[in-house]
Every structure is written in structure tokens, then in C-alpha cells.
Subunit: 321 residues, 2 copies
């Protein structure tokens, strides 16, 4: 007899000092008791929690003290083998993942903030194309393609690889975060792939040296990849960035947050022009306290933009260089 439980996962995002951070907890997920990073998660109380997101807010508050503002449902993960130990206990855990954006970085006890690019080093292009791609990822994927059992599979692996990582003349699409992670998982280039296999049929050992990038418990890195991709898409057509900023900010601050999320550098003047004539912000007349050069004007988010434009967002004024 298999019992179903609803788990609720939260990807809680904040951006400070130009670093996008997510809230993680420690989890003893392997038999051996090794400790891994995990996303905060808790069960739905089917009697008490009127809605899923209320359940989420309830225990996030209980556990971390954080009171969530902007919350958005991300995706529901229900693969039978996503938690092998639960399965052995006759339990099927279906997890509904949420994305939450917060401003403050007040930390709980169990929790800690981590740079999300620690988990996905290949996603940060702000300092140029990450060298890990050409140094480690591309060759490893090349080997995986070559190891395909037949020509058709090889062809398919080639196409997926090229599209996901912008190889072979294809262009890099910042939103395909999940596609990239899943490809690496399938090619057994992330530790989770070995771990999951070992849990299903003990005895197999990890061979290849895994890629840089911190693993997570369960399928949490997959959830995180989903969140990152979704957020990168969303800032382009909904003014969600402002959930991550203080109510009053300079245009450079805004730009840095967008860059942190998108993982690319933007052309400053064009960025200004864009957000200004999109009507997304409104000058306050006040100026910023010094940051090194000429004082910057302080801006606020202009709520009226919601009435005016159908899809107001920060449509990235394209990569610099």
C-alpha cells in the first residue's frame, strides 16, 4: 500500500552585493549520513492548510522566521524515484515547488544563504563565457555523444547538447537552465546521477570526476534549475525584480540585480534608456549617498506601468561586448 504525501519546497531568492542567493538548509540525505545542501521543505497539512501556498508560508515562517512576500508556484515534481528512501517506506512524495523573492537577508538558525552560481557555475556569464564550459563540459558531453549506442541517438544527443549549451554555432539561451542541468544529469556528469543510481542498485561506484558545481540533496538542484530559468524568463515581462530591491534604489542597483539574475553584463546607458522610457521607474529627485562618483538619482518602481503596458519587464538591452 502506497501512501501519498504532498511536500512543499521553497526556492527563496534574495540578491545582495550583486550575488543572487538562495536559502538552503542542511540535510542528511544519504545512508551514510553525509550532509548535503537542500532546499527548505515541509509537508502540507491536508487538514489545516487551506491552500498550498499558505502551507508553505506557514512552515517557512515557523522554521526560518522569514515572512514571505512575493510567492509563485514553480512546478510539481512527482517522479516515483525522486526520494528512494521514502519509496522503500511505501511513501510517494509529490512536491510542489515555489519561488519566493525577498529583500531582507535575516537568517534563521538552520538556514544559510548561498550564491546560486555555486550550484551552476556555467550559468554566470557576467565575467565572460565561463571557462568551465569549454574546459570541462563540452569535452565531457562530446564523449557522451560519441558513446551513444547508435547513430540516431548520437544525432539526438548532439542536437540537444548544441542547443542547451550554445555549442556548434547555436546561441546561448539564458533561460535553458533546466535543460542544461538535465542534460548533465543524463550524461552522468553531476554527482546526483551517480548517487541516485547507487541508491537504486547499490554497488555501483562513481567514476568520472564530476563537474564543478555543488550538488544538492534529492532532486533539489533540478528544482533550483527550474527556478533560475523561470525567474530569468519572468523578469523580461513582469516587474518582479523590484521584489528584490529596496523601495528606493539607483538605476545601477537595479541593473546589478538584473545582471545577477540574468547572468550577463548589460550596456549601462541602454539599460537606463530602456527602463526609463518603459515607464518602469520614476525619479524621486533625491540622490544617493555616495558610492564613489557623481551622486545617482534615487528611483522608485512606478506601479502605474501595470495599467499602461501589457507585459512590463526588463527586456534585457542585450549583452555588453
Amino acid at each position: 500500500m502506497t501512501t501519498v504525501t504532498i511536500g512543499l519546497n521553497a526556492v527563496i531568492v534574495a540578491v545582495t552585493e550583486e550575488i543572487p542567493r538562495i536559502l538552503t538548509v542542511r540535510s542528511r540525505s544519504t545512508e551514510a549520513g553525509a550532509s548535503e545542501d537542500a532546499l527548505p521543505f515541509g509537508p502540507l497539512d491536508p487538514e489545516a492548510d487551506r491552500t498550498l501556498d499558505r502551507g508553505l508560508r506557514r512552515w517557512v515562517e515557523e522554521q526560518t522566521g522569514l515572512s514571505l512576500g512575493y510567492v509563485e508556484q514553480l512546478y510539481t515534481f512527482g517522479d516515483r524515484d525522486r526520494d528512494p528512501r521514502a519509496r522503500q517506506r511505501g511513501l510517494r512524495v509529490v512536491s510542489v515547488a515555489y519561488l519566493a523573492l525577498v529583500r531582507e537577508v535575516s537568517v534563521g538558525l538552520e538556514a544559510r544563504w548561498r550564491d546560486w552560481y555555486e550550484f551552476f557555475p556555467w550559468e554566470d556569464w557576467r565575467a565572460g563565457r565561463p571557462e568551465v564550459i569549454d574546459r570541462a563540459i563540452a569535452p565531457a558531453l562530446e564523449a557522451w555523444i560519441a558513446a551513444a549506442p547508435d547513430a540516431h541517438t548520437r544525432q539526438e544527443r548532439r542536437e540537444r547538447t548544441d542547443i542547451a549549451f550554445g555549442l556548434g554555432g547555436a546561441s546561448w539561451d539564458g533561460e535553458r537552465v533546466l535543460e542544461r542541468y538535465e542534460l548533465l544529469y543524463e550524461a552522468s556528469l553531476v554527482p546526483e546521477a551517480w548517487r541516485d543510481r547507487a541508491e537504486r542498485q547499490p554497488g555501483e561506484e562513481s567514476l568520472a570526476s564530476p563537474l564543478p558545481g555543488r550538488p544538492m540533496a534529492f532532486d533539489h538542484r533540478r528544482i533550483l534549475a527550474t527556478a533560475l530559468g523561470r525567474l530569468r524568463g519572468k523578469i523580461k515581462y513582469r516587474p518582479v525584480v523590484f521584489e528584490l530591491l529596496p523601495p528606493v534604489f539607483t538605476l545601477l542597483q537595479l541593473q546589478r540585480v538584473v545582471e545577477a539574475l540574468a547572468g550577463v553584463r548589460l550596456h549601462k546607458q541602454n539599460f537606463r534608456r530602456l527602463v526609463e522610457n518603459a515607464g518602469l521607474v520614476e525619479g524621486t529627485g533625491r540622490q544617493d549617498v555616495q558610492t564613489g562618483g557623481r551622486p545617482a538619482e534615487l528611483f522608485v518602481f512606478r506601479r502605474e506601468v501595470l495599467r499602461e503596458r501589457p507585459a512590463p519587464g526588463v527586456g534585457l538591452p542585450h549583452v555588453r561586448r
Copy 2:
């Protein structure tokens, strides 16, 4: 003791004769046994179904004979009161809704295809602004705004109404389908609002004449609204329309399908220009069998576009007139 069950809902979409259709089944959802339209749904078998979407495909095939191709997870609905009768039996049903796009219109026995604009008459702007908006919706919402208990609520209702329905100078955003439905629900302008309330506290009777637009069982119209909004957004940046078209088509056929989904008329020449230099399609040299005028060239979807552009889709060349 409350038991949790996972339900799987399918919004199965096809477009024929310029009408977007969804597959519905009949459901006896009310106590009295009145029959309403419902979306096809079935339970997840927590032991047998390895993944959620496999479960979905399994029973859709069993029940309707349809073998689904393109399937995408939509949203997970978990409100405690979404199925009051289940709740009385100590059951909490969390439903994971999926969007499926199909070409053929082979019908099952229990199932039938329905024009989705029957459920949302205000969403079809192809013949101009639907008169139901100004004739019925706007006045009713106006009354609802006026009936707000305090100035703050009134202000908030006003803003939501204006943004959702493009009133008071705001612009219409085709993607806000769910926002509009939820607003109407909250303002008790759809039959479901009365039905749900009556099921919670019997005795109350429906007063106002409801708006045009066919109701559905449970919260299925909400699910449908989610699907429509999502699909309208998605065609703009992913080449999903082609899942609804035969492998070979004319540009006008393509345009009609996009128009059916988006609910607006497009400028023909600009639409052609757009899809052609976006590299989305490729001429075959062959021509269409007559449809009344000069023969049209037949096109096919150009898969290579996936490598070339980051977000290939049919970015609507804007409304005609």
C-alpha cells in the same frame, strides 16, 4: 484523518476550422445530479505510474483513445475546498493540471470537443472587442467596485478591474485570462461562485443573472483559464503552434491557428514577414490545393530555428485595426 490523493487533469487542445477546441467530458458534479462540462481527469496510481505525465498519458489513452504528443505541466491546484464533496469524505485532492496539444480530432465516446470561447466569450477579439464586455461585464464590475466595504478595497478593486479588462484607459493583455476569470469569480459573476458557496453553506441562492459563458464542474474553468493564458504566452517564444498544425501547411493556415489562440486578428503581410525572416518555416515549393484564390505555397516547420534563435516563437505582429 484526511487522506491525500493526486488527481491529474488534462486540458487537451486542438484547433480546427479556426476554432480552438478543448476536450471535455460530462460530469455529475452537483448534489442534484445536474450535469456539467468537466475536463478529463483521473487519479495518479502512486505505485504504477513512474512519473506524473506518464500517469496522465496512460488514462487519457485508456479513456479517450487519444495518444498525446506534446504535453506540458500547467499548474497544481490544491485548495482545500476545491471539491467540497471529497472533503466531506475526508479526502484532499490535489490536482496537477497538464496542457496537451494535438492535431487529430478523433473523438472518444464520453468525450466531446468544445470551442473554448464558449467558456470565455470575452476572450475572443477576432471580430473586434466583444460587446459582452461593455454591455455586461463592465457594469457588473462597476457595481462590485461600488459595493466595496471601504475606500481602500474600492481602490484596489478598481485597479484590478482596470488592469484585467483593460478598462479606464488600461490596455488589454491577452494573457491575463486567469486574472479575468478570478476577478469575475470573486465578484460572484460566474455561476461557479454561487455553486461553491451553496455547497459550503446550503440555503443561499443565486441572485444576479450570470454572465454569458458556460460554467464547468469543480474548478475546471479556472484550470482552463490557466491553460489559455499560458498557451497565449507560450506561442510568442516557443514554436508550439506547430503541434496543432499538420506537418505541411500554408502561411494562412498558420496565421489562423495563431489568431484562434491569441484571440485577435493579425496583419497578414506582416505576419508572413515575421515568420519568414524569423526562420520559423521553410517553403516546400509545392502548392496548396485550391482554396479560392491564388494557390498558396506549402511550408514546413524549420527545426533548425531552435539552434539559431534563443526564443523562437510567433511574436504577434500586432492587432489589425
